[in-house]
Amino acid sequence: MAYKTKTGALGSYDKGVIELDDDLRKYAFSNIFEVAGAAQPYERVAVVQNLEYTAEVVRAEGESPWYAAPHDEFAIVMDGEIAFSFVKLEDDQLPSHSGGAVRLGAKPNGPPMGKITARRGHQVLLPKGAAYQLAAASPSVALLQTADGPETVKRWAEICVMKGE
């Protein structure tokens, strides 16, 4: 038997259903591609919140600002192709806030560490101690495993299914 694996993309996805005798807000049901499609490029829209931790959807399009976090982050490319560039931060450049990504004013001075080009299904380490920038030639989507931080955008009422349809 030949199987057909169904994946989603920015312009092509099917959303599931949530049929519950319960307050649907408790389930915060959303869709990554729908959220990315409605977001501005490089807005980091939370779709997962586990107390201080989040997963954030990003629509990558053109070049992003430079970011850094006081901990490891991870990116999974869900659609398209994204290039991640890295710069090593000096000790006095390390972010001092508690968690999540912070936007840097410009590309930091420091030695370039290299670049990773990732496509659908690839998981990328955004290591602590490095600044990073995303770039995409055409609209692409990534899910960032991170923490609630200064760049986290929360618009739960807009992205979640609020009542039965």
Partner: protein, 329 residues
Amino acid sequence: MTVLDTKVVRLTTDEATGYTMFQLGSFTFRRDDYFAHISWPKGNHIIEIDRFLRATVRDIGWGFFYGWIFFDDVFGTTNHYGTVDVFAGSYDRGCKEAGIDFLETFHAEAVAEAFQAIAQDWISVGYDPLNAPLETGSPIGSKGPERTDPLLRAFIAADRMLGLPGDKPVRTEAAGFPINRAFADLDYDSPDIECAAGFEGQLHAINLFDHIARSDVTWNPSISAVAGGNICCVTSEEHMLPVIHGNDRNEWFIQLTDEIHWNIADKNTGAPRGRIVMKAGDVCAMPADIRHQGFAPKRAMLMVMENGTPGLEARYASGELKPYPVDFG
């Protein structure tokens, strides 16, 4: 909470089937051709043997996971991270009202040892309860030769990220993990890593879909990336989750491919609340006050985001934390 300081005991072996009966505390476990029979001082319960064994090996492999593992509506375990409750009817309204519910608490090692002994005796060559039903034989019938290969495998827990030097490896063809038949239609390329001189080993990326597609187990998550208590698990799901999971904290599902149907019920009573169908790209929280069971018509890739912060179970149980994750304001 009294913790019984006891271990599994092998009782008699049935001459007709060849299977051994076991005792842990006040519970006894017996199997015949078709069923597992569980008895306790106030009651008895029967579970279809395939379902019982699929649940048993996962419960051990997960280290009893987070919270409640219901083998069915009646029997299961609750993880207290060091000790484990084994219960019958404690979260079933009918059993409660009939007064036959029963629960004993053991050291986790004792329950693991008991379940391993049962699985070893009750699983014969040709049957692998960690595989999808299309990929394995049947447990029905009398005892055959016991398996000598590991019954449990593939709960891979990365410390930081899969594939990093010194961390757990990703699955590969060379290591004996071919792409599963259900994911053979996808392309699997590698990320391009261009590392500047002096930073070798500091940049890292993997093909996570490739890793999941090579999984030789179902409903058995492995940890791919960890930042503090922020844990990313990935798993391949096919057929049905052979347990009903009642979490002791909020967790999140991210559907990576295909679709999974989830039945949702009240955690304490089992009363149905409805269903959720997740398709590729969907994200959904599983609140801490429900139990859920998944059904995957085709093998699917699922990501689970867990908060592994120690002590969370007590904060949820006390009501300090709400049983749902998002404040809509």
